[in-house]
């Protein structure tokens, strides 16, 4: 069954210059493996292709558990010089949560 990440996980976006960081935290720890298998760096890069111009790197934090995505060239220049409305990219956590995954 397809479900949005929004239904099984939460996220907070952060910015460092033109780089966007996105955490992905399952509500239930048992969903961590599913996220680890399906929400790969490549899958996120594909999902956010209209937003992220550069590479996506994924870090795993099994202790929390959580995943962290670092997205390069994602903030149209960064907070001070960007022409976008959301110059920090603070709303982009909800762009990640639009992604769909398969849940048994």
């Amino acid at each position: 069954m397809k479900t949005k990440l929004y239904d099984i996980a939460h996220s907070r976006a952060g910015d460092k210059g033109n780089t966007l960081t996105l955490s992905l935290i399952p509500y239930k720890p048992e969903h961590f493996e599913l996220l680890r298998n399906q929400v790969t760096a490549n899958a996120v890069k594909e999902h956010l292709k209209q937003i992220v111009a550069g590479d996506v790197i994924r870090y795993e934090l099994p202790n929390l558990p959580a995943l962290q995505f670092v997205c390069q060239q994602a903030l149209t220049g960064g907070v001070t010089t960007s022409l976008t409305m959301d110059t920090h990219g603070k709303s982009l956590s909800y762009a990640l949560l639009e992604m769909e995954v398969d849940v048994q």
Partner: protein, 440 residues
């Protein structure tokens, strides 16, 4: 040495609310209060103000915050550490002394300087973001190195009740009192790694206690109108227990702490500060009681030999214009207006952005959801080298009243000067912090 200290964080950015810090100082039974008020770009803007008037350049809310909180801090013996000095810690300290005199309070303030390395740069240093020399980004306005906890320690050793810094790494504002009060050593990387986890969790204040977390129906947070900010009890062995003042709104949970732990973190196993390269990957969070979270497991490796320098440069001007369309075919008429503006301005702006607010203005896509909105606000933004040229954007949008599609209303126009930010590195031996003590 103490066995345990309690630190509160009453502000997580320059524009943060004033009341939560006051409540922490009044009821939090704190040893230290930290007010973190200095974002990446804030200091460059402050440097501009200081150039116009050498008595300014500190945080614009400093006077209101200090006036409100100072009597309570002194009554309750809470020491304040804040980076509200921004571009001018000395003028900030002087202002605090003035406020103390006005309130008839006796007080010592310590200002920490030395982060300003503007005169030490040639402009040929390489910007980390672009890989090119700094001067290619634009005329340089400011350069401030991120100082660490070691720069704050000499001030803590004085009798100062208020310690004012300029650019200091945010977690270091918390690591300094931990090191000073708990007798930690500046080369115990495990302790400093855990201290940095604590500082990083605390530095955004309300973001740990349910602020920036709530999502109705999914992530419920109680009484957000009275959101309380966090405090942390830290034992000499580094164990940290986070909490908030009884009766304040918000929520402190493992979930709010996880979001904050990873906020703005690149590689969680190598989080660089001037104090340590911290490792967040072994952190364990435990809900000990309602609104009480334990954190253990922060680790670290030897601190870097270089300090990060935040460089502000002049990046021209941005002009903006907005106008609304509502009712049938609102999006169609807004898009016609956008196309008209595009044609009228494209030759004069290298970089022009046109947004349809209510449709795709925030994420640049809507992931396949295309409802027909009742109203749309057209927004146009363009970058220019002069204020006059930037103003053309708003002028053209306003002119849509009589030169654009039917039914446009509520036009607004803005221009503002842009300060860009890039980073570079400097050898830490070239940066010499200094403490100045002032008394009232």
């Amino acid at each position: 040495m103490k066995e345990r200290i309690r630190i509160g964080c009453g502000a997580g950015f320059s524009g943060d609310r004033l009341e939560p810090g006051l409540i922490l100082a009044q009821q939090g039974k704190l040893d230290y209060l930290v007010l973190e008020c200095l974002a990446e770009r804030t200091i460059a803007l402050a440097q501009k103000r200081k150039r116009q008037n050498p008595d300014t350049g500190y945080d614009p809310l400093l006077e209101r915050r200090i006036e409100m909180i100072l009597p309570v801090l002194l009554t309750n013996h809470v020491r304040l550490i804040t980076n509200m000095g921004a571009a001018n810690p000395l003028a900030a300290a002087q202002k605090v002394i003035e406020i103390a005199q006005r309130l008839n309070l006796s007080l010592t303030v310590a200002a920490i300087t030395g982060d300003d390395v503007f005169h030490q740069l040639t402009g040929d240093e390489i910007a980390l973001e672009t890989g090119k020399p700094l001067h290619e980004s634009g005329p340089i306005l400011s350069a401030n190195a991120y100082l660490g906890a070691d720069a704050i320690l000499p001030a803590l050793a004085t009798d100062a009740q208020v310690i004012i810094t300029g650019r200091v790494a945010d977690p270091s504002l918390f690591v300094a009192p931990l090191v000073y009060e708990l007798g930690w050593s500046l080369d115990n990387w495990e302790q400093l790694g855990q201290g940095t986890v604590i500082g990083h969790l605390m530095e955004c204040a309300g973001q740990l206690t349910g602020g920036y977390f709530a999502d109705p129906g999914r992530k419920e947070v109680a009484d957000m109108a009275h959101l309380g900010h966090p405090f942390v009890d830290v034992l000499a062995n580094g164990t940290a227990v986070f909490g908030k003042v009884e009766g304040t709104g918000g929520m402190l949970s493992v979930a709010t702490a996880k979001e904050q732990l990873l906020y703005e973190v690149m590689d969680p196993s190598r989080y660089f500060t001037p104090d340590v390269i911290a490792d967040f990957t072994q952190v364990r969070l435990l809900q000990a009681a309602p609104n009480q979270v334990h954190a253990t497991g922060g680790r670290g490796q030897a601190r870097p030999d270089t300090l990060k320098v935040s460089v502000g440069y002049e990046a021209g001007f941005i002009g903006e214009g907005e106008i609304s369309y509502a009712g049938a075919n609102a999006l169609g008429r807004a898009k016609l207006a956008g196309a008209i503006i595009q044609e009228r301005l494209q030759d004069r702006f290298a970089d022009l952005r046109i947004d349809y607010i209510g449709s795709t203005s925030v994420h640049r896509t809507s992931f396949g959801h295309y409802p027909a909105p009742y109203e749309i606000r057209l927004r146009v933004a363009g970058r220019a080298s002069t204020a006059q040229q930037a103003a053309l954007v708003g002028e053209e949008v306003e002119a849509l009243y009589t030169n654009g599609p039917a039914g446009g209303g509520g036009a607004r126009k803005y221009t503002h000067e842009v300060v860009g930010i890039v980073s570079t590195l400097i050898d830490r031996n070239q940066v010499v912090p200094n403490v100045t003590r002032l008394s009232a």
